[in-house]
Symmetry: C2
Subunit: 219 residues, 2 copies
Amino acid sequence: MSRASEKATWRVLILAFDGVEALDFAGPFEVFTTASRVAGRLRPGSTPPFEVASVADAAPGQPVQARAGLQLLASHALAGSPQADLLLVPGGVVDAPLASPAVLSWIATQAAGAQVVASVCTGAFLLAASGVVTTDAVTTHWEDIADLRARFPALDVRADVRWVDNGRVVSSAGISAGIDMSLHLVERLAGRELAERTARQMDYAWTRNPAALPANPSA
Amino acid sequence: MSRASEKATWRVLILAFDGVEALDFAGPFEVFTTASRVAGRLRPGSTPPFEVASVADAAPGQPVQARAGLQLLASHALAGSPQADLLLVPGGVVDAPLASPAVLSWIATQAAGAQVVASVCTGAFLLAASGVVTTDAVTTHWEDIADLRARFPALDVRADVRWVDNGRVVSSAGISAGIDMSLHLVERLAGRELAERTARQMDYAWTRNPAALPANPSA
């Protein structure tokens, strides 16, 4: 499943919207930016494995209001954003983006051009509503499993996993599981050593899917 | 050590500055805001245990540039910020705030009026440089333990712990350890049930100090 040699630098775009859960957004941001920092120390002068930017459902230069009051200024607005190699869709309070044709269309278009699409928490609802997943195996926050099944009965919604990796689409459980899934993506896309060093740099006890991968010796 | 009944609502102020590590900031933000959300569900209509705001070393209305390019708009500038009950000082690239008399003075003044002061990662350097800790037991990121000892030889710098709690000052290890420490503060200030439910809401495997507290039965 390793694609470590597939491309030099993965352009990671993380979507932001009013109501986005702060840690759904900031956890993956921290993982991919730290991975590139760690890679630069391991191999000085090498091409960074990830370049991370954010894209907001907001007017250019205007902040999004993350859940509980945090204001973020994204790198790009939806219109004119570059194409992601890895599109990351966080969750949170997703009623507004679920009702926004502009957001759903942006996700669908980006997903069509991305090699990998990933969701955190209730971001899975946005992947489903935009048609990126239809009958796929996915997961979401434990509290939203029943709702995701009810709204999208053709989906194969899995409970009690940290993430589900279908190859092109990867979805994680709630909030902090986005960190675990992002470390998994670092492993898959840039190698296991870098993923483990990134977790160590973040002082993070990586929770993996026990059946999918061997135990983390440093956990 | 419980102060659960000491005050109705703890005003948590989280410092932001150019170079702040995204997860040092966003992890505690997520914990304290989620704790208040969970408390509101458990006891509808009750006073929230935490009110969280951010304070930036930036001109009013101007963003801070977090490490690796994330832009945050804080609730307050240093001048005119309210007094914290719980002051939280994140780390990251701290050279600029360490060299800023305005930031160090703000930390010292806020700390004098706060019941609890907490640092994440290299935020411990800011507590030491502002005189908030002098001979106290503290911790920091594993990579910075030696540097903290060298710069502040009177400090009792502890390695291999998730956090050190001195009562008034609590410091955590690197980056994600700020989440563990914040859950500990929720437990100490608002009770164990709320802390465990907050971790569960965040889908987070809480890493505690094994000697300091009993194992988390839900982990």
